[in-house]
Subunit: 193 residues, 2 copies
DNA sequence: CATTCAGGTTGATCTAGGTCAACCGGGATG
DNA sequence: CATCCCGGTTGACCTAGATCAACCTGAATG
């Protein structure tokens, strides 16, 4: 399935569009390809884009004082990535967004998105639903970090990200669930036997 | 300011309404008062309500296997509380929502909210913006937990919740930033000198 | 085909923060 | 006025997970 068909299907899950609305919506999107390890977004810049992944996979993360990487989100095909903090409050972000494999995207800028809302208000609904779902999942993530052990968090991760878990390195998974690669390796060893 | 005026002002920050829309919106809201320690929502139940706090303060939390309380959100006056996971995915929640002082609320049920969206679509916009902001803040919370020490998280907490920090017990703050009351007490002692 | 180099493993040691239990003080309650 | 209880403090000890450095492997690269 090509990128345009994919995003239309995604939107179509939540709202219905007539043919010309689809055309108009697609016309607002800027396609762009990224190579593995290429940045879609860097710390310190304002994030003005909603980015839809049409194929490949992307991570968003921050670097702490010691230069350690902490992965905030992993966005596979058929997902949006954004540095929400930067996008919403229009200030420099502290996240990097980086392709972890060659990745195809469709970019919706803040201005185009506002234009979209003006022309087709039902897109407010689409993004409302999208964000409410993402928010719900994110709240779970907080409670998981607060109340579960690393091993338990890993359990959940495996279930939720089963489809992409194989294509991620241990380092990435470790970072996502919030432990060091060394500890994660030991954890796996302990589980195997 | 009374509850109705407060919620109209809140909504008015994001969208504009004519007089009859305001009336209609208010007609969908069910006022309800809660005493300190009363539950607005219990673990195991489906959360079907968006709840707006008109005065007082509320916390949402979960109990882990050991019965320890972990506070997910603290909602003061002029905020909404919901168990998003339960509300969005329509399944039993694992959160408690409890008044930490006597609290006045306006309740918007899921059905009424859908009705509201049908009658006044710009409310999609209101909730879209609301949720995008909440989501952004919540993502910060995740990165904070992943990359900061307890003391640093407390710093941030003080800044962000300055206005209500005094009316919370140390236990509540400790739980919110993700440490035990004992450790939190020691942390304060260390800071004082 | 030699060399990097990134991802992973492992050992030794360290520490942030947890656990458990005793204790304190003050406001509510009988 | 005695008692309870809740929030907080403190001491002694414990542990999940971090840190640091050495080492291994295999795939990419010159």
């Amino acid at each position: 399935m090509d990128g345009q068909a994919l995003i239309l299907r995604n939107v179509g899950n939540y709202i219905s569009m007539v043919e010309e609305e689809k055309k108009y919506f697609l016309s607002l999107l800027q396609p762009r390809e990224y190579y593995r390890k290429e940045y879609l977004q860097r710390e310190g810049n304002n994030c003005n884009n909603f980015i839809f992944i049409t194929n490949g996979c992307v991570k968003s993360y921050l670097l702490d004082q010691k230069g350690e990487e902490h992965i905030l989100t992993i966005a596979p095909t058929d997902w949006w990535v954004v540095d929400y903090m930067s996008f919403v409050f229009e200030k420099p972000g502290n996240l990097f967004i980086e392709a972890i494999e060659n990745t195809g995207t469709l970019i919706l800028t803040k201005e185009k998105r506002e234009e979209l809302f003006r022309k087709i208000p039902s897109f407010e609904r689409y993004f409302r639903i999208l964000t409410e779902r993402a928010f719900a999942v994110n709240q779970q993530r907080v409670t998981d970090i607060l109340s579960l052990t690393a091993a338990e968090r890993f359990e959940k991760f495996q279930q939720r990200y089963a489809h992409i878990a194989n294509s991620l390195t241990q380092q990435q998974i470790a970072s996502f669930i919030g432990v060091t690669p060394a500890f994660f390796s030991r954890m796996l060893k302990a589980k195997r036997k």
